[in-house]
Point group: D2
Chain length 349, copies 4
Amino acid sequence: MIDYRSDNTGRAAPEILDALIRANSGTALGYGADEWTARLQERFAEVFETRVRVFPVATGTAANALSLAAISPSWGLVYCSEAAHINTAEANAAGFFGGGLKLVPVPGNHGRIDPDAFSRMLAAIAPGQLHRGQPAAVNLTQASDLGAVYRLDEIRAITEIATRRGLKIHMDGARFANALARLGCSPAELTWRSGVDILSFGATKNGGALCDAIVVFTPELADGLAVQLRRAGQVWSKMRFASAQLMAYVEDALWLRLAEASNAAAARIAGGIAGLPGLRIVAPVEANEIFLELPSETMDGLERDGFLFYRRSSTLARFVCRFDMTEAETDALVAALRRHCAAPARAAE
Amino acid sequence: MIDYRSDNTGRAAPEILDALIRANSGTALGYGADEWTARLQERFAEVFETRVRVFPVATGTAANALSLAAISPSWGLVYCSEAAHINTAEANAAGFFGGGLKLVPVPGNHGRIDPDAFSRMLAAIAPGQLHRGQPAAVNLTQASDLGAVYRLDEIRAITEIATRRGLKIHMDGARFANALARLGCSPAELTWRSGVDILSFGATKNGGALCDAIVVFTPELADGLAVQLRRAGQVWSKMRFASAQLMAYVEDALWLRLAEASNAAAARIAGGIAGLPGLRIVAPVEANEIFLELPSETMDGLERDGFLFYRRSSTLARFVCRFDMTEAETDALVAALRRHCAAPARAAE
Amino acid sequence: MIDYRSDNTGRAAPEILDALIRANSGTALGYGADEWTARLQERFAEVFETRVRVFPVATGTAANALSLAAISPSWGLVYCSEAAHINTAEANAAGFFGGGLKLVPVPGNHGRIDPDAFSRMLAAIAPGQLHRGQPAAVNLTQASDLGAVYRLDEIRAITEIATRRGLKIHMDGARFANALARLGCSPAELTWRSGVDILSFGATKNGGALCDAIVVFTPELADGLAVQLRRAGQVWSKMRFASAQLMAYVEDALWLRLAEASNAAAARIAGGIAGLPGLRIVAPVEANEIFLELPSETMDGLERDGFLFYRRSSTLARFVCRFDMTEAETDALVAALRRHCAAPARAAE
Amino acid sequence: MIDYRSDNTGRAAPEILDALIRANSGTALGYGADEWTARLQERFAEVFETRVRVFPVATGTAANALSLAAISPSWGLVYCSEAAHINTAEANAAGFFGGGLKLVPVPGNHGRIDPDAFSRMLAAIAPGQLHRGQPAAVNLTQASDLGAVYRLDEIRAITEIATRRGLKIHMDGARFANALARLGCSPAELTWRSGVDILSFGATKNGGALCDAIVVFTPELADGLAVQLRRAGQVWSKMRFASAQLMAYVEDALWLRLAEASNAAAARIAGGIAGLPGLRIVAPVEANEIFLELPSETMDGLERDGFLFYRRSSTLARFVCRFDMTEAETDALVAALRRHCAAPARAAE
């Protein structure tokens, strides 16, 4: 069996668990008042080249929903891609933590927001009208939920539109490292230098174990968020075990190496199946996910071959590469796809 | 320095972290659909001698607030001890997750609810009146927030009053193992056989690292809670790393051994200072916490001696024993208290 | 100036205000414990041919949002037409009162839900999956937000699909009387006999002044809703002044006469412009609203003529008839539309 | 029967209903965009000698809860008197609208907050600690829920403590006119000149019918509140009928004349029973309420005599005077109390 179901089905990077084990000595104050968490603040300030506040949290859903609640009033409209994880897969956590804020899906290609569509939608809401709530924030999923990556100028096109209307910007970086590795830019460029106020900093899907983080670039958001996290049950009393994981995650560029590995695996597969008849690569393979339009017979065949993956519909399959995917595993998928994509043609003869 | 600040300043039991490491092989479905979490259900069914649903969560605050939200409508009144953690230390997480439910403090001694006071308070709310909300649930902190332990008959006195009025019962078991070790009864007796519907099952304070759990005894509460946990950001995608910790926690009675050790340390201290002039043991030392009324000069002296502990007020100090407290450490505290309690008397001469 | 902007720009029916004045004598218990409110229960039981609970509320938004919160858990998905008022015009009140419930727009024509689309959308959500929330309720706007009316069999097609999946049914009857007048069926047939659990009973748009109501057909919803209304600030202490209005509204079939009048005005206009080149009637004119696709120059011309109406977009205009619209007023609109619809053709020569 | 149960059991002042009737002509834009509501803004600016925003709402509970939600984050602590209506009688509406904010009762006499107790309670919460939420606002009930009235210097003592800590100030003026009439100061002095940010402006208990209002003195609170009121279902589409009532309420000092009448009735009773053995006036009778400690036999006797009033406990009775209470009615109560208070003494012989 070769598992392409998700990057969350995978192992944690040993370096991260080692750090957790090493944190298990002595006593330390609870709820983030420990030395590990203090060093985490400093380390992320270096990584992002600015003073930030870093809050470890249990899950990406918590990171997203609490970030959005921090930048939108309860009557806010939060714009996001139609395919955004916050819109399709988090049980409306944003609406819950945000006291009834409303997600507004914006069209666009490959899981990204189209700036023109976004601009038109904002223009249609008069400031001060009461009946629809008020635009408050925009959410960018980077990498996107279809495996594409926003370029810096694409991000800035959106954040400029948003900022002109007074909206705040949240980036859902569940696969932030994958996007960063792809673009080769700095973490600062990808975030606050492009207008991002607050970031869901994903680690779990890229070799982490039990924590992600919220990174706050806009200082006035942090104090309220700190209390909200406490009452949201997202402040571990033994926080050092989370902070130590996040420290290890960025140490010696581990996070980028892990992301490069999973990106490379996806690219290798995409390269190997480019131009194959009988399938369509739905979005540019720019991170570690591949979405393919395939006949369901082809999917059946892959499953018989021992591949695990998700069927998003009867003709859409998702394959996700993990950091520890081997070339043998990616080559096996390529070979199988080639075999099956030839087969149906023959069958149809 | 000897640290009596809290049981959350301490290390995790190595067995628990070992289990986490061992879980790091192969791939596994996310969000609790893995084998570790399946086995956890079975294991806890044995521990509690009934079919239960176990949901690992990041923190005790999440366990408490989401449990209460599961058993109370948003207009509910939730009765708890005046000293209850949910009332004094969780930033009103219960009110937040519960959509505005209201905590109603009930008097009682040593952090416990007095059944007669509870009964009178319920009687004062006519069913069907609209102005105060409606009684919905009761919360028992076991062990209590002042270090005492409810006996089984004391629990049942309260759950009977509650059940007669249609209330559901939540037990905050942040120190459940300590109470269990103290009473020597079975987990079943301490919970569902005494009327408890839902339990915050604490592990962190007793040698855990990054997870606690909710244990549901009343089946109809579980399905809704499962969705609510997902949107609360409390369902880890790599759940196996949490479930593995909880499995290790109850394996070979580890949890009880850890609790017995911290209980014994506290008892040893309490025994050593019993009858000392110049201090008062505020509540029976039945778990791993000791609350002492002390002159602030005595507290100053202890701090100079290198003891770390919390000052709850100018005359109230809290000392918490961890599972790995040594006899040398407890004896040192006893000796210091004896020394200082003699000293002020001399100073006053 | 002839005002077609909305039915809420209009006067109240004098009979309703007279009743309010008549209620102003003697003293009466507050918060609905008065005789007027007691008689209201009986009167509506007759109107609906079954025991109901009637709760006067200040606005239709309150009626809708609190009804939905009563039939959906906070993690629920509430299906509604894309054009539904709850989705487009109430500032996500349903999400707020419902603790983060999510509205799911369903396609369909003329502001109605298409049963097949609804059925497919339900089928796409597996029971027990956690990631999207769970289907909980369906909302039917009757008459629809585009001026059409569901026939009884259309309602039942939807409520049967919903009920099979365990969903509850809410009807937004902001223009309930208009739909009733159109269909000629009984209030019972249009609601509980067709599967409706709870109704927003509109009066304001049909000659009311300051109150609408919630009518509960499914008894177990009522007690909790009563408390929720109290804390929502929707229970007037001097409730008699609201209940008296609602009594007058249904007395001697006043509500139906008012609705017939506004329906007739709309039908007269629709009849007068049928087949005109240069405009398109967007949806069947079955209640008191007319939606027209028109060139913006035509709209400009109508405004110059002194007609007030809403531009929903640059090519969509809404005209709403009130109960006191005269034939002269409707004929004036027809004449103007004929004039302008001829004009652009000439202008284009 | 003479009814002392509440000021909400009474009639509306005819002037107010007359104004409602007069508003029933012509058409007017909905949701507060009408001329009546525009004039209301101007009129209240004169009354309060400053620019204000006035929002008519259906009930005092809505006014209180939405005001508090406007000045407190969801993790806020809102300080109020132990006897405050928001704490004892509104089904925790503040917690609901405030997303889980927590009310903190402060001791004090006669339903008022004691400044020293308040100050000590604030000092006990360290800024930045996460575990209890953060102080956000203070609520003053004026007149108090025990019938007393804060003097200006008493208000300012509290608002100064609050403002130093960054708290906002809400006044629950359900009986604002009664307090104003008692103190003889200006509305400005009683509110923003004494530090009040936002006021629940009560009309219902003082001759109103179906509306109260929120008056905002701190401009930055108003825009968000406007949207929140819309989604709270508190913005009538036919707002003119509410605004017209409020205009009439303050016209020609009607509100003060009504309040003077009910205050005078209460004072007449208080004067008539002062010093009577067998009863105790619980709080200074400074508005229109009288709280008496009485033997329950005396209460039985009064009921047999045909007096209606509320028993707050077996020994505490509340009598409320309405604006249209006659001297005959007040004298009858005095006479009855004298008769019964003599009687028990004889019975005891």
